[in-house]
Assembly symmetry: C2
Homo-oligomer: 207 residues x 2
Amino acid sequence: MKTPDAPDAPETPAKTTAAPVGTRERIVRATSRLLQRQGYEGTGIKQISREAGATLGSVYHFFPGGKQELAAEAIRHGDEEFAVLLRAGLGSSADLGEAIVACTTMLARELRASDWQDGCPISSTALETVGRAPGIEQAVAEAFANWRAVVVEHLVAAGIDGQDAGELAGTVISTLEGAELAAQIARSEEPLLVSGRHLARLLATYR
Amino acid sequence: MKTPDAPDAPETPAKTTAAPVGTRERIVRATSRLLQRQGYEGTGIKQISREAGATLGSVYHFFPGGKQELAAEAIRHGDEEFAVLLRAGLGSSADLGEAIVACTTMLARELRASDWQDGCPISSTALETVGRAPGIEQAVAEAFANWRAVVVEHLVAAGIDGQDAGELAGTVISTLEGAELAAQIARSEEPLLVSGRHLARLLATYR
DNA sequence: CCTCCACTGGAACGAACGCTCTATCCAGAA
DNA sequence: TTCTGGATAGAGCGTTCGTTCCAGTGGAGG
């Protein structure tokens, strides 16, 4: 009934817009979004295959490791997604404080646009699988380390000492995570925006 | 086989220690701990009744609203649990910075003692049920507001302006939440301890 | 042409899910 | 004693879970 893959133009996937997305990629994207909104246990493989426009056979063909392997891959997808946003926000201003505020502003806008549904892409799955799914735990740890590295880079470039930058980057990520959770719960941009200003103020004390 | 309620001394439940815990309370406590570790979808009613030493009939007798009502009650339990820790930490020192550091130190110690399992009692359930379980969402929102109020009280007592105190309290809670998540993921006390120092530094700029 | 194989499609399995239901127990009121 | 109703006990409902399995299907390589 439904033909997922575009039958035409298999050779020119880069049409700038609407590049036909392969089955594997569609499965990963659908999984990432569902994990973000429903968590690990709340998301079923059949729902994933339905939303991705793929069949159960395809899912297990590409991810023979089952749900865990699929979730780990989706975490890596969310990792890069969030890193892109982080780089965009931090790179938007030479002033460190303004850059941080830009990050929280972007996060707040996206959160509101999704009716407070799309928070951190991985935190829900991360919390559910602590100590019980090694593959997922590792992907989560790598994501946090990745985001931290992105922040460290900008802090060092802004002239903050390496040791301080490493510690501050951890706190920046932690606070963004917590503020995003608080914003989802309160259905308000305020926790994110306020935390952004506080982080800017904290960073300003390192001169 | 197993007699949950202590058959003797039904009139003097307050023996200072080892007060026999009623069936309803046992169910709530078991639910709270399981939700903390496994999240909402990952926790089954039958597992709850097993761990609580109660039967399915008892669970639905006390919580006719089913899983959602039970979870909301467990969230309220976790709310008070965390508030107690917060008050203990904040009250441990007249110096605001030291008090905040005391909070993170306590959280870090408890987290390590549970092999990084027992993080925030409600965050996992909160994330899973955003926008899909009104009763639970409300209990979660009340918990955050409650914790925030506890912090505000101490900030104001330390001489911080009311407006600032309200905003800072939100960031304090957010950062504690995020740092606890980071600590669980990294299996390390460091994110919590470092964030505690940074929060102390931030608060010190309000004088 | 045929062969091959990555990929698709979906039936079926046993287990677990949330919840309903009836039956039983037992302390205290009448 | 009989009656009442809170509390306990667990079988069983229909559904969904993650996973396995196998029969196609279609395009590239010989």
